[in-house]
Symmetry: C2
Subunit: 568 residues, 2 copies
């Protein structure tokens, strides 16, 4: 295995504080590393005003709630029988089959609040029994056939950044499981510059791919918050959306073709640029979350590296005015590439969280204009300078017409600088007795206000009790002509006695509420283990049966990530 | 049934010559009508120069090859058993079940050259045994369940404009078939202006929908050549592309949700604006061609009616230069909404076919500039006036940089005026001893020149013989960042002895060639019966098995359009 940072049970570690895209670590710096001593102190990640605001709003007393030391994490012995291990070794080679403690811990679970809570408490019961590393499509297909034969569950592992329990490895039959690490399939296979297509292995990460493409003046441009660690295979398997997806499209839109290794053979899907030769099977592989097989190669659409980038802030008087403004931009196809409209609670938190003279000036300026309780909008454009100018001009005119006031580039650039920071901050907040989690959905413009209100209400009711209220911070993160997504961050005083139960109840209430109001179960985090109980409400009982029929054909022994996607 | 025009066996009738979108007939003017006497004469649809060109190039002697009179068409008695007919009547009502000759003939086959040849020869063996008209999703689901019970094949019928044998009704078990006419489900159910979404029945046609939307200042904008007759359900079932799809997207991109009635129940698919809740099942219904069930409702994305429209012509010195120019537009996201680049043979034919003083002037002007053998490009923009201006300016600069010369708006407007004309012209050409058919594909920019050359070569080899050569006219009709589609029109002297065999051989040669060169089986005409033998080459044996598994789950008795999509 490649050299890895020190093992950690934190979410994002090891470095303290936010990092810029341009200084992100390379492919070898996966989420991982560090013991307690290296944690950034709460004071380093939150200004005093923000800490006070949190304490006051949440009824929270900052306290030390550190994770157990890595050495104290409980890990049951591997359940993989020796004859099965030998079969795996025979196929992949001794160096690509690991059952040691460190490898298993490194591949235990993802990065949801529940995943982190469990590991912080020393519970690694979701760790795989072994970690295997196939090196090719053929080896992966053979591996899945072997797993079917010997009754071993296979859970693909890219960046390990699932926030919906996508790596849970839960199996109704309690069979042993292997984590299929895709780190050996992490190279660029082909670049067709004329057709704007690059073909890559599933383990390739954003920073490495951008570096490769940059040498040809090209870019993929997909930058979700997990960009430093997540892999191309993972983006495809979960139908990821990135921060600029409003402009360049969701990851779905960037996949021109892919190879899916299954226990029943290999599927080669996609006919770029487009085809009408029957239903879209490529779309069946996207979002399949490892439950139909393992994605072993992807052909992705690239574009010229943007020669101009412009990010700026605007302020709306209200959430309603902000939504109306975005809707107007969307209807006339004048959407910027990046759009992020914060609701009043998130705007207030953002302003409190911002530090430095610029932030003080901004707060003062907004107060002067009577916008202290308004909604912050960050917009960004990328591309040819002339196109950026023309699009900016057209969008600005619509925004002004919708009552927005321009705040300038400082707000936009600040967002850009901190855009990968939240997960790092979260680690410090978890150390100090807080519940911190996110959830997301999307709805049509007509349903969006109701969904927003319903989710807030559900979370506040579920998490509120005597003297305590959660903070529910929401922003629109992706905009479409027909609607938009909502990204919700929840902060609350943690229930130290039953922290997992506390969040499970809140998540259940929020999910029921958003579905009832017309939202989708997930806009870009996938189903995983966490959303399984609600899949039928999203696609219907017959829809679930169709997926089951496909799975049955490709994975008759149900060894492909059986703990995700399909309800029990 | 609604009042219908006089029965015909022609492709497009009854009116002679091309029509403009704005004067298109309404929903009751389906393809149909007229006896021989009403045919436009060849001289009316082709200028003398074009007729001479065809005679010279093809080795063709114009001759009268009229279809048999409608009364002479051979139609076997309905094979639907009386007890089955009564069950259908019990479900749908007497007035919605027809077994009479006229209803059956009206629903016989589609509009491919082979379909027309057969009917012109008096062969209606592909006519359904009955025509049924369900009125709702529930009735359609009940109908399909009943068909499964009594062993009757169900073939959905929208506009009847399939050009790939989509209505063939062929069944390996030779069971009786009913045509499921969707004409009763042709209304607009809901309009959500804020979310830019309209919900419609599957039988709604373009002109009626545009008229409805126009009253709200909205438009769908999907305008394939079959626009006057084709239905929304048909567009979705075949993954249609329209003339402005480069700008507004394929029909796939316009479908936000749909209802699919199947023998096993009803699927409600799609979560606008977007979802990551598992694989895209909506994408499975798109392109399902009636083989998984019947689409009974669609929610479509609409947009503001364009306030400005601009179409113009350009000339490239060569095909290669033209492709390079389009590729550059595509890479920088400066594509117009409409793009149509003709290769040298099509350009020559277009110029010969154009009549009037304007056309003479254009020919003279091109000759002066040494472009007589060049490639004609038609481009069009629609939308807000300022946006159209800005996009035109940016695209023009790229086109000039790629060596193109602007010809002005007359060429563009002429294209726009005649854009629904070709099928009408075809009827007249068929009457005069010609083979006329189209086929289409798409490929990446890298593969496109090879595909173009391979298809031309295959058709010329297959259709050429002593003193005779086909004309193979090609244009790029839809452009993507990663590639483009090719639309090929073939004209040849018909083999009066074995006309069907003549085209089957040519089609087979062309399809083998385009697949071998890296093209897709079909870019926007669907699989139908005609492309079935090649589906496995497109999606692989396992891909076909996945589709079969889905069909087996939804349609276990295989009554849903068993003659299309899946190979035997």
């Amino acid at each position: 295995m490649p050299e890895q940072p020190q093992l950690t049970i934190q979410g994002w570690g090891p470095a303290a504080g936010p990092r810029d895209a341009t200084v992100a670590r390379g492919a070898d710096g996966g989420p991982g590393s560090l013991e307690l001593t290296a944690f950034p102190d709460l004071a380093e990640v939150l200004p005093k005003a923000a800490r006070r605001h949190l304490a006051r709003e949440l009824g929270w007393t900052p306290r030390r709630t550190p994770p157990v030391p890595v050495a104290d994490i409980r890990l049951a012995p591997s359940r993989l029988a020796e004859d099965c291990r030998l079969r795996l070794v025979e196929l992949l080679g001794d160096e690509h089959v690991s059952t040691d403690r460190e490898a298993r811990l490194r591949h235990a679970g993802g990065k949801s609040y529940l995943d982190l809570l469990r590991r912080r408490e020393g519970d690694a019961s979701d760790a795989p029994d072994a970690v295997v590393q196939p090196g090719s499509t053929e080896e992966t297909a053979a591996l899945l056939a072997l797993c079917s034969e010997i009754g071993v569950v296979a859970v693909p592992f890219g960046g390990g950044t699932s926030v919906v329990g996508g790596l849970s490895g839960v199996d109704a039959d309690d069979r042993p499981s292997v984590s299929v690490d895709l780190g050996r399939m992490a190279s660029v296979h082909a670049l067709d510059v004329a057709s704007s297509l690059v073909t890559v292995g599933p383990g390739v990460r954003g920073p490495a791919l951008e570096e490769h493409l940059g040498r040809h003046g090209l870019s993929l441009g997909h930058t979700p918050q997990s960009w430093e660690f997540a892999t191309m295979g993972g983006y495809a398997a979960t139908r990821s959306a990135g921060q600029a997806s409003t402009g360049i499209g969701r990851f779905d839109d960037l996949v021109a073709g892919l190879t899916l290794a299954t226990p029943s053979g290999v599927l080669e899907l996609g006919s770029p640029p487009a085809s009408a030769a029957g239903p879209d099977l490529l779309g069946l592989a996207l979002g399949s979350e490892g439950a139909l097989g393992v994605i072993t190669e992807l052909t992705l659409r690239v574009r010229p590296e943007p020669r101009a980038r412009h990010h700026e802030g605007w302020s709306f008087r209200s959430w309603e005015a902000g939504l109306a403004g975005l809707q107007r931009l969307a209807r006339h196809e004048l959407l910027p590439d990046v759009i992020r409209l914060s609701d009043p609670d998130e705007t207030r938190a953002d302003l409190l969280n911002a530090s430095g003279t610029g932030a003080s000036l901004l707060r003062g300026s907004l107060r002067l204009r009577g916008r202290a309780a308004g909604c912050l909008l960050v917009v960004g454009w990328e591309g040819l300078p002339a196109a950026v100018r023309a699009r900016r001009r057209a969008a600005s005119s619509v925004l002004r017409g919708a009552g927005a006031v321009r705040l300038g580039t400082r707000v936009g650039e600040s967002w850009r600088r901190h855009r990968y920071a939240a997960p790092y901050t979260r680690d410090s907040l978890l150390d100090a007795g807080l519940l911190v989690e996110t959830l997301e959905t999307a709805a049509t413009w007509t349903a969006l206000p109701t969904v927003h209100a319903a989710v807030r209400e559900a979370l506040r009711t579920s998490l509120g009790r005597r003297g305590k209220q959660p903070l529910v911070l929401t922003h629109v993160s992706h905009v479409y002509p027909t609607g938009a997504s909502l990204y919700v961050t929840v902060l609350a005083d943690r229930d130290d006695a039953l922290p997992i139960q506390q969040w499970l109840s809140a998540k259940r209430a929020a999910t029921d509420a958003l579905l009832a109001a017309g939202g989708t179960l997930t806009h870009h985090h996938a189903v995983g283990a966490d959303h399984r109980p609600w899949l039928e409400r999203e696609i219907g009982a017959l829809g679930v049966e169709v997926l089951r029929a496909v799975k049955q054909r490709l994975d008759p022994q149900d060894v492909c990530n059986p703990g995700v996607l399909l309800p029990d």
